[in-house]
């Protein structure tokens, strides 16, 4: 089937956010076309690649990039797609294929806490959002019902309706951690888009412990399901359509999207409304690539804020051995956390954070470590058994403040299609580093309460990245300081909307997906009310 030359709505990017916007518009009867740079990939292929990979802990090994739509790869060698301008390397990972990056995620689907929306007002840092928690609450709920979310009842994000299901069963290790820390910390089940019962035709989690790189049974929600749902709702989805430029007319309205097919033939698609949902790095890249004589800094960029205010969640961690057998690896990879440091007056001084306990089986990591140390035979078996049973890890998830100097720009090098590669400018500021320092007190206390020995803090100055790319398309009231308004409509182009984590003006302490989905569902609702599309149906879960 040939790609239509025109549609009412053209959505660029088929990840979880773009697809759920497309789904909602299509459900209301709108004509929607989704253009996806990468190929269509089935879960079976991903599972097969994962099972066949000699590098099981390299979660990207099941997602080889398409030559015509590359994404960053660092192992076994850096493919040098995401250029690093420093001073601190921002080694972002994402996936360019139908369904996008949430094919592999821990399925954390947190809501912000209400104060996350006004940290400038309350704490004198960062920026306020143009909306507040109440504005987003119904859309959080909508997202949670689509994705099948469950969680602990009170983690600081009040809700008007219950979760659509009960939490996934607590793994033994998490139970022991919760019990042993009870005197000092409240350890709660994470809020996740993972089935505790069959939901929407997908089975309950049965504890494969391979959420990343792939849930082999679709017990957790992902963008591939969102893309399927969008198509089922009537949206047309075309893979292998790498949009490299948006064209505007003389009035500044977006007129067309130009894309390359894998053979680098260029095609042009016109539309009434364009929604760029190509992720926190590729979306600003596209806007910058679309510079013209009228808009020399790129589209939507009169503020010069496109690509700026890049944020993620850096993490430091402590690994230690508990004084009892815990046996990480049963159940989901990331089941439990401590949420007491997500908000408080301290936010004027240092970054807030969540504390996450890993439940990833220690076997692969320990095995590689022992072999690299030259340990074999009975000693190997003894030490592997010890680590598999006792080793624990807790990490922080630190907030980063928006800083225009942290940004995605266009690099000097070009990718295989001859399109300039994205380039990052990034560092870890004092606010985040102070949060890291503060969290080390918690790390030590947690280890103490668990009888920890062999404490191994992550190397000082190293911050692991969590791939929650925020801020690069940030929403705000002031057109001079933000890219889009509260509806994620760009300040500069009346028919250009943005969707994705880049729209979030601050990153808070929780994984960005649910926030991005909720904001985007609010965008879709606004679009529908603006356009008066008739026959709109409630956007509940599929198959009902």
């Amino acid at each position: 089937m040939a790609v239509p030359r025109s549609a009412d709505f053209v959505v660029i990017g088929s990840g979880i956010v773009g697809s759920l916007v497309a789904r909602k518009l299509a459900q209301a009867g709108a004509e929607v076309l989704i253009l996806e740079a990468g190929p269509r990939v089935t879960r079976g292929e991903i599972v097969a690649r994962f099972r066949n990979s000699p590098r099981r802990s390299d979660w990207m090994s099941a997602y080889p990039p398409a030559p015509w739509a590359p994404h960053p790869i660092y192992k076994p060698t850096d493919n040098n797609y995401l250029l690093q301008a420093g001073p601190y390397a921002y080694a972002a990972e994402y996936i360019r294929q139908v369904g996008g990056t949430s094919w592999h995620w821990a399925a954390h689907a947190w809501r912000n806490v209400p104060n996350d929306f006004k940290i400038r007002t309350l704490y004198g840092v960062g920026v306020d959002w143009p909306i507040d928690y109440e504005d987003l609450e119904p859309f959080y709920q909508e997202a949670e019902e689509i994705m099948g979310v469950s969680g602990a009842p009170n983690t600081g994000s009040p809700r008007k309706k219950p979760f659509p299901m009960d939490p996934v069963a607590e793994p033994y290790a998490m139970r022991r951690i919760r019990e042993r820390l009870a005197s000092a910390y409240t350890v709660v089940t994470n809020t996740t888009a993972r089935n505790s019962r069959s939901y929407d035709g997908r089975p309950a989690c049965c504890g494969n412990n391979s959420c990343q790189p792939i849930c082999p049974i679709d017990a957790q929600y992902h963008g591939g399901l969102a893309a399927q749902a969008a198509e089922a709702a009537g949206a047309d989805l075309f893979p292998n359509a790498n949009v490299y430029k948006l064209e505007h007319d003389e009035r500044g309205r977006i007129a067309a999207a130009l894309y390359y097919d894998p053979d680098k033939n260029s095609h042009r698609v016109t539309g009434n409304t364009f929604i760029v949902a190509a992720n926190g790095i590729e979306s600003p890249r596209l806007l910058l690539l679309s510079a013209s004589d009228t808009f020399p800094r790129g589209l939507a960029n009169s503020s010069d804020m496109v690509g700026r205010n890049l944020m993620d969640h850096p993490s430091t961690s402590l690994t230690f051995d508990a004084d009892e057998d815990m046996w990480l690896g049963r159940g989901p990879q990331s089941p439990s956390s401590i949420n007491s440091m997500r908000d408080g007056p301290f936010r004027s001084e240092h970054a807030p954070y969540r504390l996450d306990f890993t439940n990833i089986s220690r076997i692969d990591g320990t095995t590689r470590e022992l072999i690299s140390q030259g340990i074999y035979g009975s000693e190997f078996e003894k030490r592997l058994r010890h680590s598999a049973a006792r080793e624990l890890n807790v990490k922080n998830v630190l907030e980063v403040l928006p800083d225009p100097n942290h940004r995605i720009a266009l690099g000097d090098e070009k990718d295989a299609m001859g399109i300039p590669k994205p380039q990052t400018h990034y560092s870890i500021d004092g606010y985040t580093r102070k949060g890291h320092e503060r969290s080390k007190e918690d790390f030590r206390r947690i280890a103490e309460l668990l009888g920890g020995s062999n404490l191994r803090f992550s190397r000082e100055g190293d911050f692991a990245n969590n791939q929650h790319i925020c801020g690069t398309l940030s929403m705000g009231h002031d057109p001079r300081a933000s890219v889009c308004d509260q509806w994620a409509r760009t300040h500069d182009h009346e028919n250009l909307y943005l969707a994705g984590t880049g729209v979030l003006p601050t990153c808070g302490t929780c994984n960005s997906t649910e926030n991005a989905v909720a904001v985007a569902l609010r965008t879709a609702e606004h679009i529908l009310s603006e356009y008066g599309v008739r026959g709109m149906r409630p956007s509940g879960r599929d198959g009902t």
Partner: protein, 466 residues
């Protein structure tokens, strides 16, 4: 979904709510005949009335359940005691005629989608209990149920009078004195209220059950209702009584067999709620049903297969660029091994069944292998819930055929066959039936025959009078 029992899973979800709720009205001890009404409720469950007489998500017995037949969709009616839209005005005699003879209070004929040929065996006592329950134990719903409209000639309900002449034996169950009480109870249930033959007995061109092949197994066009006679290879002869009871009560018998499709619905709606005495009686009776051996059944379906894998051929081998060219082992590895494990052995606790020594893969008819891959198994009434996802959306016809062949070759009966065409037909809802055409011809011939016979007898009768 099966052509004969295509009601949706939602239907039994709602049924579950209804059952959990005590089935409609609360029966206080001070209501006269509370025991009788309660017995009627139990019998209504044994008869699985709610399966058809409730629309998906609808109210119990308010009608609307759709039954796909080769002649069109038959919609069940409102059988609540509503005086306006249900059977609230039925007398016991009228109720009895409807249940046992397929004749409504207004004298019109029911279609034999209502299994009155089986219900004809139900005793007067049990009919009385059912009547008491439907009149006083069921909440009346004053809402109309949709009308059935079949194509000509089946819109002529009077035709059923002729059909009844041929296929309705309007006699009650007579216990056989030389058989045990359990056997007689089992025979009464299997042949009567539980109407097992409706699915498990093949039908002739006029849709009458072939008595000579009773419970010998037949296709429901999508799902296959297997042979449940006492034959040790083709039927249940090698099952222990307890295994039969377990299957009917739990929906699975150890790792040997598990219910899916319409049988899972029948279990969840009806059979699992029967008491142990009745389930045991059903097992005792089934184990004596005249054995029917299907050609080529050299051993029982669960005697085939063993743990095995082809991982050597999979690991390190690149995936083909065309997913349709994936090998059976690759598809199994990608879609099945997570639950059924790499050698088909299932989970350690039996919660996810082994694939070998399993009736599912040991039969010569492989339709259920394909159907379960397409539709999965979904039984919400169980705790823990049972869900095998369907793969209709994810796997192509060719991939399902490739996978199915891998499964039967490794874990099942390697003499069986699975073809891409078969998958394609089953995905579409089964082979489109020539029955309507054949039946029209058959009925026309039947009517002609009856007319001729009637004329002949009329002629003789007049001559005798003359």
């Amino acid at each position: 979904m099966g052509r004969h029992r295509p009601y949706l899973p939602l239907c039994f979800l709602a049924a579950g709510l209804w059952l959990a709720d005590g089935g409609g009205r609360t029966l206080a001890a001070d209501i006269p005949d509370a025991g009788l009404i309660e017995r009627g409720r139990y019998l209504a469950i044994a008869g699985d009335c709610v399966a058809c007489h409730m629309a998906p998500g609808g109210k119990p017995f308010a009608g609307g359940g759709a039954l796909q037949t080769p002649f069109g969709t038959i919609l069940a009616t409102n059988i609540t005691p509503s005086k306006t839209h249900g059977i609230g005005s039925y007398t016991l005699a009228q109720f009895t005629d409807a249940v046992r003879k397929g004749i409504r209070a207004d004298g019109k004929y029911l279609y034999p989608a209502m299994p009155y040929t089986a219900y004809a065996l139900v005793s007067d006592d049990d009919i009385g209990a059912l009547y008491a329950y439907f009149m006083r134990g069921v909440e009346p719903v004053d809402e109309p149920s949709p009308n059935t409209s079949l194509p000509f000639p089946f819109n002529i309900r009077l035709l059923m009078a002729a059909w009844n002449l041929l296929f309705l034996d309007d006699t009650r169950f007579h216990p056989e004195s030389d058989k045990s009480e359990a056997w007689n109870r089992g025979a009464y249930l299997v042949r009567g209220l539980a109407h097992c033959g409706v699915c498990h007995t093949p039908r002739n061109l006029l849709m009458g059950e072939k008595a000579s092949r009773a419970l010998g197994g037949t296709t429901l066009n999508t799902w296959f209702a297997p042979n449940i006679t006492s034959d040790p290879n083709s039927g249940l002869g090698s099952w222990s009584d307890q295994e039969v009871v377990d299957y009917l009560h739990l929906g699975h018998a150890g790792g040997k067999s598990q219910a899916a499709g319409p049988m899972a619905e029948a279990i969840d709606n009806s059979l699992r709620h029967l008491n142990e005495t009745d389930l045991n009686a059903i097992a005792v009776y089934l184990k004596t049903v005249r054995p029917i051996r299907n050609d080529g059944d050299d051993k029982p379906p669960f005697a085939w297969g063993q743990a095995s894998d082809e991982l050597d051929a999979v690991r390190g081998a690149p995936l083909p660029s065309d997913p349709n060219q994936m090998s059976g082992a690759q598809i199994y590895d990608a879609y099945c091994a997570t639950c059924h494990q790499e050698r088909g052995q299932g989970s350690f606790d039996g919660g996810l069944p082994p694939l070998f020594h399993n009736t599912s893969l040991g039969r010569q008819n492989t339709d259920n292998v394909v159907m379960v891959i397409l539709d999965g198994v979904h039984r919400t009434l169980d705790r823990p819930e049972i869900l095998m996802p369907g793969f209709a959306r994810e796997l192509s016809d060719q991939q399902i055929a490739t996978l199915g062949i891998y499964l039967i070759e490794h874990y099942g009966n390697p003499n069986a066959r699975i073809t891409i065409d078969q998958v394609s037909q089953l995905r579409k809802g089964g082979v489109s039936s020539p029955m309507l055409k054949l039946f029209r011809i058959g009925v026309a011939a039947g009517i002609a025959l009856i007319a001729v016979a009637a004329a002949y007898y009329l002629f003789r009768w007049r001559r005798r009078r003359a």
